[in-house]
Symmetry: C2
Subunit: 344 residues, 2 copies
């Protein structure tokens, strides 16, 4: 991805500064009580595994595009990483995921009850770290940033509830519209909308401008998630999750929703049957599902949807009033395109 090389370099830079802040300053290392020190080790486990750092980069870049500096947004961006880490720990438990960032999920590496508690501990540390904005942005903006975090958590947990409920309730009567609504909550808010808005708040953007980011962020987040669903069925080892994990977990992706719409009634019947099986049993039938996806060219359909949504998001982004750094504004467009073209 040569065209993104400079942007990716910058993203790496922000990620390394975020990591340093998290691992050297915010997250504790040692404690005289061995069990507490184990908690600290577990809290540091996901943050130490790397990752692209797209969300903190969006936050910092948005702050610059609104006329702020990286320094004003870096702590908040680090808290986005903390959010991502605790919610992934809990999601991995809920979804029964095996791998995360190329290594066993935390609840597979340690006892799952300890992993659950670690997620809660990390959640608390996130809010504690946000309080440090007091020294950087003053009291009012600190509270506004916390308000945005609260909204983001509300949306994300509601989206997660939708997705889990569909799996638990063996619900397949789902439209594309249902998928978009779920994705907006589960993915768009914490991946795009809030990172952009938080950058804006840190830079002092007005409420009307902040509202104008919701539309673009929503569409872009859904496009990102569709692309992620496609990657889960096509990406290589770099991707870090188990291949076709989504199928094993029974996730209601756009791909499966589409397949149920275009398949024959026998095929639909068979799909419902396959997804009623326990995970391990379904594992033996993955090829059957993959063959249907191939035959109906569903990945092509999903790619097309993602590309359309990206187009919409880019034109909405262009209507936003960005008073800051022009280079940062074009970086945001690049991240937008990258997020639906990336190969991991």
């Amino acid at each position: 991805m040569v065209e993104y090389s400079q942007m990716l370099e910058e993203m790496k830079g922000v990620k390394s500064r975020v990591d340093r802040l998290l691992l050297e300053d915010i997250l504790p290392k040692t404690h005289m009580i061995a069990e507490v020190e184990l908690l600290y080790k577990m809290m540091r486990d996901y943050p130490e595994r790397g990752g692209k750092g797209m969300r903190p980069f969006i936050c910092v870049t948005s702050c610059r595009a609104f006329g702020g500096s990286e320094d004003e947004a870096l702590l908040t961006a680090s808290c986005l990483e903390l959010f991502q880490n605790w919610i992934l720990i809990h999601d991995d438990i809920e979804d029964g995921s095996e791998l995360r960032r190329g290594a066993p999920a935390l609840h597979k590496k340690y006892d799952w009850t300890l992993a659950l508690n670690t997620g809660d501990a990390l959640h608390g540390r996130m809010w504690q770290a946000l309080l440090r904005n007091r020294e950087i942005l003053g009291v009012e903006r600190t509270l506004d940033i916390m308000d945005e975090f609260a909204r983001m958590i509300n949306e994300t947990t509601e989206g997660q509830q939708m997705e889990l409920s569909w799996v638990v309730g063996k619900n397949w009567r789902l439209s594309e519209e249902d998928y978009y609504r779920m994705c907006t909550k589960k993915t768009s808010w914490y991946t795009v909308i809030s990172p952009m808005r938080l950058g804006g708040i840190a830079a002092g953007a007005d409420p009307q401008t902040l509202r104008s980011l919701i539309d673009a962020g929503t569409t872009l987040g859904v496009a990102f998630q569709i692309h992620d669903d496609v990657l889960n069925l096509s990406a290589g080892a770099k991707y870090g999750k188990q291949y076709a994990d989504d199928l094993l977990e029974g996730k209601r992706t756009l791909i499966l929703i589409r397949l149920l719409q275009v398949g024959t009634s026998e095929e639909k019947q068979r799909m419902v049957e396959l997804f009623a099986m326990p995970r391990e049993e379904r594992k033996a039938h993955l090829d059957e599902i993959l063959e249907m996806i191939e035959r109906y060219k569903v990945l092509g359909f999903a790619n097309e949807r993602a590309a359309n949504l990206l187009g919409q998001a880019l034109s909405t982004l262009r209507t936003v009033r960005w008073p800051g750094d022009r280079e940062a504004v074009s970086r945001l467009e690049e991240i937008a395109r990258y997020s639906v073209e990336r190969d991991w």
Copy 2:
């Protein structure tokens, strides 16, 4: 408990005002998406089950004892209830608890993955509600209160990690001192220390006075937990948890730690054996454990320890400088005594 009747009336009054605020104002009820509305229903489940409301009462009473009013502390007190509710949801999952407040635990009533997510959603709502203090107490005190909540979560999750690690690691080489350290973190902070300090912050108490509350709160919290451990083996239906649940869950209570100290080496051996069994198998041997507890009069020992700690806590409490309502100060002493004499 005639001597506590007036205090218990007041506690009931605060609890009903806390409940109204939580159920009528803070926690949402309806949503156009059915799955999200189910999340709301699940979030309201534990808060709707009642409970004594001791922690919010301590918070409100402490605020009055520091010269503040109930109005200044009620929102914060309600957030303590929210904290208690989300952490109980997660603890019940981690401990495999069957009952909570006389009804099936949330993860037994609904799918456990949905219950886990509900805990996270409630955790987020707690922080969001804390932001409302902005209108009541101003920005500075709002942030100070959040800082105390962060500390409280750190301590509680560290204590929970200690207790879980002992169970997971089949660790029985524990001293009374280990138990006190675990209890201070797991129970004292969120039950006594932070409720008192939060009342103080709401009333504008100075940092030195706030620090002076830590000692008394620590001892009282441990006394409360010891009494709770005793109740788990002696209380009736009103208690709301399953009888001897602690033994089923393999919790390292002072009672068991003592038993391991006073028993013969054969008895110790047998105890370790019994607690290495899976929960259901151990269920058949409860009488054997209860008989040893009876024979060595361990409940009497635990009651004595709790009474001593209460005495210490009361004399430390008397050294605190309380600039406010004298009646509130004596109420705090009553709550202290009640917390280790209550029968549910």
